[in-house]
């Protein structure tokens, strides 16, 4: 079993965010806003038994979706950023993201 940690990082401003893991909704929150002094809006931790999973992050009001196939053999950390140009990006790493 692996832990998938998803950090909603820069660029969120009163956004509704929906997260699906393998097409199943695991998170939905309104008014997600980045706390600018640390560059983090919210953190979601999901346990999964699958060896690989598809993560989908959706901002339904902005009509934006980003998906990523991830290997879940180890704990994995994903950072989601909404860029000013209207692009949603997802960064993956094997250690937790740091903030200050």
């Amino acid at each position: 079993m692996a832990l998938v940690t998803i950090d909603l990082q820069e660029g969120f401003a009163n956004d509704t965010v929906v997260i699906r893991l393998n097409a199943q909704e695991v998170f939905r929150r309104e008014n997600v806003t980045t706390r600018l002094q640390i560059g983090l809006a919210d953190r979601i931790e999901i346990q999964t038994r699958e060896r690989s999973s598809e993560v989908e992050i959706e901002l339904p009001i902005k009509k934006l979706v980003v998906t990523k196939e991830i290997a879940c053999e180890k704990d994995i950390f994903l950072g989601v950023t909404f860029h000013a140009g209207g692009k949603l990006t997802l960064r993956e790493q094997l250690c937790e993201f740091w903030y200050a």
């Binding site: 740091w98 903030y99 200050a100």
Partner: protein, 752 residues
């Protein structure tokens, strides 16, 4: 190094940052030659300069027969400045020097003060001059110029930034001549302002300090938590080639950024129990601890901050530190460093793990304190509406960048990191209007409003907010009605739903009283109306009045003072943002106004004024009747009469819950309505038009005329329209509106 030795070393370092020529700042009147500083440094000219002009007004303890003395003259001023406000000067109360013993204290009667920050040499020169002009008690204008050297101790450049009462600074260029000296009291800078519409102006500023601003730090620590306030710059082998090997303190870092740093308080130890049951710290717990342990805590803006060294934040090891103070009315006063978070773990295989950890803890402390100066992260510079247009600095080797986020990671970062802030950050800290930088002043990341709004890069509309008066000054108690003007600035006709302006659903109004946090206006009513999209032709506008004084949050505009109002309209997924409008609410004229204020600034009265009257809210109506009775000539009396008269002009349905009564009908009161509305709208039409606002006024008069016509008083209605036409012509209202009024007048005239 033992702790005592380290402390002594830090004190020596901090002292060394104080140049010998700074001695006079600390011990006024005492002069000392520089000892440790090379001559070239001692003759640097960067720093803070000041010019003051006061007219003194003595306050006699015992009545004396005054003798006259020469009027104090303003130094170094060309005609542009000449004794502005001189009518306040009372020669009858001046005195001679011999008499001053009998007079105490002496207070300024009128003053002007100017500060100049010259930044052309020393550490990280930005080749910039900036200044702030204070005039009287309310006028302040800030300017910034980029400089190029044009001779020995001479610079010139264009003024590229102005903020505040910019009408008082018509100039566009500066020429600066500095007079360096070993002695602080002989240093001066002469600035010639020119360009623009004003005559050129020359002014000589006296040296005040090598630093641009003062700042005070207090370091408190939680018992047992790591507390790193200094670092050996070359202790870790990965550092820039040629970096000076020194013990650098946090104070040194901020001295080099241009601040005259002092330490406050006793660097207390805080018991861990303050962190609650789990021994980790939440933002609220830290905020509470700040109020208890910070010796300088105050709900006001001050150049002072509290730094807490603790072990861990509630959110765990991923948070190395936080400027937690975005709570309450005064932000950015407190910041915390979590020494046992990820910054305590050097990368595996690091050559000097202890030095790595110490350096990261030091970096984190300086980084979090940078947030308290209102610095954003290096990659956030373009967000919101920065004070000037900025570009992200993703690769900057600055305290405000994350070392682990640059290309090549933290080792690449520290290989080039010189323990400094970037030039754009130094420009902000040294030269931005001080209210943007000073702790507890502008809210965190918020000195411009609408920081996160999604604004169209190519807007089709321009939204203006304005008031129909020459100066945006409102009487005390006077309700504030602003006018929204939405213009199609594209070259094509655009579709727009006018209900967006009036519904209250899609409009955001931010109100901020000077020195207070911003508030969002919450209207008493929001209207859900069917979309009625209309075409706005290119360059055409639509208008709507907005009563913004009060809402369900209470009276947002009430106390005397200066307020900033800004409006955003959500059109599809984009915001159309207005200009910020600054208005002033004047102080009360006397006891009556202060007394009435207690009843007027209630929710019921706000509701009645916003909704144009009620026959149910008796308390509010009584308060408004008292306004009419006690302050008949005041501006608020027009609003009161309008709100009292309007519901009398129609049959009024009131649903009561009394048994057996149900719907109650109040018959219209023609005499009462005419009395109040005539007084509100016609008797002093210039004042009522101004205070109610053009659009609002026209709507109310049209409605009143319909009522008059319904009562068979078409001649009176025609006269009302005629009076309105006359007044609006004087006010240069749009020709189409004037024509509309004439047509309406004719229609009533033909009936009478």
């Amino acid at each position: 190094m033992s702790k005592d030795k380290e402390k002594r070393q830090n004190e020596i370092n901090a002292r060394e940052e104080i140049n010998a020529d700074e001695y006079g700042d600390i011990f006024p009147g005492r002069i000392r030659f520089p000892r440790h500083t090379p001559c070239t440094l001692a003759l640097s000219v960067s720093g803070l300069y000041e010019w003051n002009w006061w007219i003194m007004r003595p306050i006699p303890i015992h009545p004396r027969i005054p003798k006259t003395s020469p009027i104090p003259r303003s130094p170094g001023l060309l005609p542009y400045e000449s004794l502005e406000g001189g009518e306040d000067y009372d020669v009858g109360e001046t005195t001679t020097a011999n008499e001053t013993e009998a007079f105490s204290p002496i207070l300024p009667w009128y003053f002007k003060r100017e500060e100049l920050r010259l930044d052309v040499d020393g550490r990280y020169p930005q080749m910039t001059a900036s200044g702030t002009m204070f005039s009287g008690l309310s006028i302040r204008v800030h300017w910034i110029a980029s400089l190029a050297k044009v001779g020995k101790n001479k610079w010139s450049g264009d003024i590229w930034y102005k903020h505040g009462s910019t009408v008082n600074l018509p100039y566009t260029k500066v020429k600066i001549t500095a007079t360096p000296s070993f002695f602080g009291n002989q240093r001066k800078v002469t600035v010639v302002f020119s360009g623009g519409k004003g005559m050129s102006r020359m002014i000589t500023y006296k040296y005040k300090s090598r630093y641009f601003h003062p700042v005070e730090f207090e370091f408190d620590r939680v018992g047992g938590a790591p507390c790193v306030t200094s670092v050996e710059t070359t202790a870790h082998p990965n550092h820039p080639a040629g970096m000076a090997s020194e013990t650098l303190t946090i104070e040194n870092v901020y001295c080099r950024a241009g601040f005259n740093v002092s330490k406050a308080g006793g660097d207390d130890t805080i018991p861990l129990s303050e962190a609650g049951a789990n021994a980790r710290w939440s933002d609220m717990e830290m905020h509470d601890a700040m109020q208890i342990y910070w010796s300088k805590f105050a709900d006001k803006a001050q150049w002072s901050m509290w730094v807490l060294f603790a072990s861990l934040h509630d959110s765990g090891t991923s948070l190395g530190g936080i400027m937690f103070d975005d709570i309450g009315p005064n932000h950015r006063q407190g910041t915390a460093i979590f020494g046992d978070a990820f910054i305590a773990n050097a990368p595996s295989g690091d050559a000097a793990p202890d030095a790595w950890v110490r350096r990261m803890r030091f970096w984190t402390a300086c980084h979090e304190m940078g947030h308290a100066f209102n610095l954003a992260h290096s990659w956030q510079k373009e967000l919101g509406t920065p004070w000037i247009t900025l570009q992200n600095e993703n690769e900057a080797r600055s305290f405000m960048n994350y070392p682990y986020n640059v290309s090549g990671g933290q080792s690449a970062f520290f290989a080039d990191f010189e323990y400094r802030f970037s030039d754009s950050e130094l420009l902000f800290m040294r030269h931005a209007p001080s209210q943007f930088v000073q702790m507890g002043n502008a809210d965190w990341f918020d000195h411009h409003g609408f920081q996160q709004a999604n604004v169209s890069a190519d807007p089709g509309y321009k939204l203006e907010i304005r008031v129909n008066r020459k100066k945006p000054i409102f009487e005390f108690l006077e309700p504030v009605v602003v006018e929204l003007k939405l213009t199609n600035i594209s070259s094509e006709p655009l579709l727009f739903d006018p209900a967006l302006l009036s519904s209250g659903q899609d409009i955001t109004v931010i109100l901020r009283k000077e020195g207070r946090p911003a508030r969002q206006w919450a209207p008493f009513a929001k209207y859900c109306s069917a979309s009625s999209i209309t075409v706005i032709e290119s360059k055409k506008s639509i208008y709507h009045p907005l009563f913004v004084s009060a809402g369900v949050n209470g009276w947002d505009i009430a106390e005397p003072g200066i307020y900033l109002i800004q409006v955003a309209i959500k059109n599809d997924e984009e915001y159309i943002i207005s200009n910020p409008l600054t208005i002033r609410v004047a102080p009360p004229h006397g006891y009556d106004e202060e007394f009435i204020a207690q009843d007027l600034f209630s929710e019921d009265v706000g509701r009645v004024l916003a909704l144009n009257g009620s026959r149910f809210l008796d308390t509010a109506n009584n308060a408004l009747s008292e306004v009419v009775e006690r302050l008949p000539k005041s501006r608020v009396a027009y609003h009161a009469r309008m709100a009292l008269g309007n519901p009398l002009s129609r049959d009024y349905k009131l649903l009561t819950l009394d048994k057996g009564k149900g719907l109650k009908i109040f018959k219209k009161d023609v005499k009462g309505a005419t009395k109040e509305l005539d007084a509100a709208l016609i008797e002093n039409i210039s004042d009522s038009t101004e205070t109610l606002g053009h659009i609002n006024y026209k709507n109310i008069v049209d409605s009143y005329c319909e009522f008059l016509s319904g009562e068979g008083l078409d001649d009176v209605a025609a006269k009302c329209q005629g009076e309105m036409h006359k007044e609006f012509t004087t006010r240069q209202v749009l020709q189409s509106v004037l024509q509309q009024i004439l047509d309406t007048q004719k229609s009533y005239g033909s009936k009478s």
